[in-house]
């Protein structure tokens, strides 16, 4: 593998000099020195890492070769990176490679990612992080996210007029073999689509080391459609799933899922409604990334109170969102989301035994000028944290949390510094079973002295009634440098203590351990 990689790089370099190939790439270097806290033992464990990911694309005419390599001494998260079947990257590895040909059809071979419809039947999602620690790792506070559910195989895409077709065949890390097709017909008034996917293999939660034979042979069928009438849009998506192998351990397992949206103008406001009813057996298939039907709260502190998305596979949920903007830049947004496990109920029921969740958010942005704005936000959530099996005990190992938060961000122009953003958030959390209450305050300021660099200083303070006081402080400096003209570098330097917890990005959440120390990241595109 390494010889092949070196050969690819050598040929790429020579070819680029010869002018035969177009070459682009992105290189990310991450270095860190500090400690992470193990939430089981409560001890700080040294973590020193250095890793480099080079994503290189060589193009010529209709062909395009993309290779991503990782050089690790060791990785930031040493447990299990994606796309290597759970094996730790040692030294240097080729972690992704795709050969693409674009003609009347688009053909990709190697590591492929794609989505059918809304992602209910199939969503092969590319992870941009080098690592994907699993539950079995050294630090259980770093939970899996299944960000990278890509397949090693082939993908063919074609489009003719209003009709688009996709066909996929491959092997995934998390399930096993997957094959499927999708067709979609789009018109100005709406669209119609359908998918058929077959998967065979071992579900992620079954331990391969115990010698369990493949227990999954599942067919998933999907239909979906959208109707548009001006700004009014209604969409509906239905999936059914059934096990083919009657001898398998999960014989009889199956499931269904329905997802719908309504987008409508309402007295100058925009109303958006989302509904889900997911009842997949065996916690679904891991190449699904169905919509979560909740808002991703972008503020730093309050974001920790969002719903755990790994409860998404057997859940009903509803989202109502109302938003409006006015001339001059003012805008408001209100939303409410509810979710729970399914126990004969079509709509969410706020029972602890059903892993119930509810959230309410409000946001108000006041833009007085391009250099001056004030943003206010509020959020309230209630959730049974942790997984409650159907019919299980709602108390043991779980907790009912109530969180309320406020946020404010002010951007003002300041002479010499160009502009300064100051922000603060407050979060109060109560947990009923242990009668524990926690209050947290996060304050940060960011200065933007030039287009080349910015500096963010954050103070994070949390006081718990039963656990004493805990200060977290950090400073992060970011610089964007362009040198030479065809190469752009972004340098990020972090120093301080970073509170662990849930981190969400692009609909995916992961839980990271608290970190103290220094981190440096250099990202270069060329």
């Amino acid at each position: 593998m390494r010889t092949a990689l070196t050969l690819v790089l050598a040929l790429g370099g020579l070819a680029a000099h010869a002018g035969d190939l177009s070459l682009t790439g992105l290189n990310t270097l991450r270095v860190g020195d500090g400690t992470v806290r193990n939430d089981l033992s409560g001890e700080d464990v040294d973590r020193r890492y250095a890793e480099d990911v080079l994503d290189l694309t060589l193009s010529r005419d209709a062909f395009r070769l993309n290779v991503a390599t990782a050089l690790v001494w060791p990785s930031e998260f040493p447990d299990a990176p994606p796309r290597t079947g759970g094996d730790e990257i040692e030294d240097l590895d080729l972690i992704r490679r795709t050969l693409e040909w674009s003609g009347p059809v688009n053909v990709q071979v190697g590591d492929v990612w794609t989505t059918f419809g809304n992602g209910l039947a199939l969503s092969l999602y590319r992870d941009e992080a080098l690592v994907n620690p699993r539950l079995t790792g050294n630090n259980r506070s770093e939970l899996p996210t299944f960000w990278d559910s890509g397949a090693d195989g082939a993908l063919v895409e074609a489009q003719q007029g209003d009709l688009s077709l996709k066909a996929l065949w491959g092997q995934t890390d998390y399930v096993g073999h997957v094959a499927g097709g999708n067709g979609e017909w789009s018109r100005p008034w709406g669209s119609l689509g359908g998918s058929l996917v077959r998967a065979t293999g071992i579900p992620q939660n079954d331990d391969i080391r115990l010698g369990i034979q493949p227990t999954l042979d599942v067919v998933t069928r999907e239909v979906y459609g959208t109707v548009r009438l001006g700004k009014l849009e209604v969409s509906l998506n239905h999936v059914d799933q059934h096990q083919l192998d009657s001898e398998a351990r999960n014989a009889g397992a199956g499931g269904l899922a329905t997802y719908g949206t309504l987008n409508a103008p309402l007295l100058g406001w925009t109303l958006f409604t989302e509904f889900k009813y997911y009842r997949f057996a065996r916690q679904s298939l891991y190449f699904n990334a169905a919509p979560t039907v909740q808002r991703e709260i972008p503020t730093k502190l309050i974001a920790r109170s969002t719903h755990r998305v790994f409860a998404n596979e057997n859940e009903t949920g509803l989202l109502l969102d109302l938003s409006r903007s006015w001339e001059g830049g003012h805008s408001m947004r209100f939303s409410g989301a509810w979710a729970s496990h399914i126990d004969g109920n079509l709509l969410p029921r706020l029972k602890e035994s059903l892993n119930a969740y509810q959230e309410y958010t409000a946001g108000w942005l006041m833009e007085f000028s391009p250099e001056r704005h004030l943003e206010l936000g509020a959020a309230y959530t209630e959730e049974t944290s942790g997984w409650v099996p159907e019919g299980g005990d709602p108390v043991a190992g779980n907790a009912w949390y109530r969180r309320a938060g406020l946020s404010a961000t002010l951007l003002v122009p300041v002479p010499v510094l160009r502009s300064v953003e100051v922000a603060g958030e407050y979060l109060h959390k109560t947990e009923r079973a242990s009668d524990e209450a926690t209050s947290g305050v996060m304050l940060w300021a960011e200065i933007f002295p030039s287009t080349l660099w910015s500096l963010n200083v954050t103070a994070d303070y949390e006081e718990a009634s039963t656990m004493g006081q805990d200060w977290m402080g950090s400073a992060e400096m970011r610089a964007d440098v362009h040198w030479p003209a065809s190469v752009s570098h972004t340098l990020t330097l972090f120093a301080g203590r970073l509170r662990g917890g849930q981190v969400c990005s692009n609909g995916n959440c992961r839980i990271v351990a608290p970190f103290s120390g220094v981190k440096l990241s250099l990202s270069s595109s060329f």
Partner: protein
């Protein structure tokens, strides 16, 4: 050891070849939020295109886009068009259209699930802004947004589009 030397030599060859390479060409076809298929070549046929990769969860993006809309209006004589490309995951793609409607944005909004097109154009995270010439060449790219960046972008666009406008005349 030999392998490491070979690897470093290969990387050196790659990096040193960069300044000499020709301008990169962008090409893609994506669906917009109304389901219509949009080809970059069709947009380029009308004039230069400012592409902005953004996402509903990206706060800097949401701050930058109103500035980009205003900025594009100032280059109407050069037929500069703005196209927003949302890189939200399929999980939150249905939230894009209501968000755009609530903001009252009327520019084309395309969908790039998982940011695969953004990555092909060397972007790693939103916001990522590109200026594309009518020939499809990438004239300028910029990652991130800080307050005041729109001023620097305006200067770049003025500089880059001025010769093109001169040639056309």
């Amino acid at each position: 050891m030999l392998r490491r030397i070979a690897l470093l030599l290969s990387l050196f060859l790659l990096i040193t070849a960069l300044p000499a390479r020709a301008a990169e060409t962008a090409a893609f076809r994506l669906k917009d939020i109304n389901g219509a298929s949009v080809d970059l070549a069709d947009l380029c046929a009308k004039g230069p295109v400012l592409l902005s990769f953004w996402a509903t969860y990206c706060e800097p993006c949401k701050k930058e886009i109103p500035h980009l809309i205003d900025l594009t209006k100032g280059f109407a004589d050069q037929h500069l068009q703005l196209a927003l490309i949302a890189v939200d995951s399929p999980r939150s793609q249905k939230q894009i259209k209501p968000f755009v409607n609530s903001k009252g944005w009327t520019v084309p909004v395309l969908l790039d699930a998982n940011g695969q097109t953004m990555k092909k154009l060397k972007g790693s995270n939103p916001p990522y802004t590109l200026l594309i010439s009518p020939k499809g060449e990438v004239l300028y790219s910029h990652s991130g947004y800080k307050p005041g960046d729109e001023g620097a972008l305006k200067q770049e666009i003025t500089r880059l589009l001025a010769p093109a406008a001169g040639k056309e005349q």
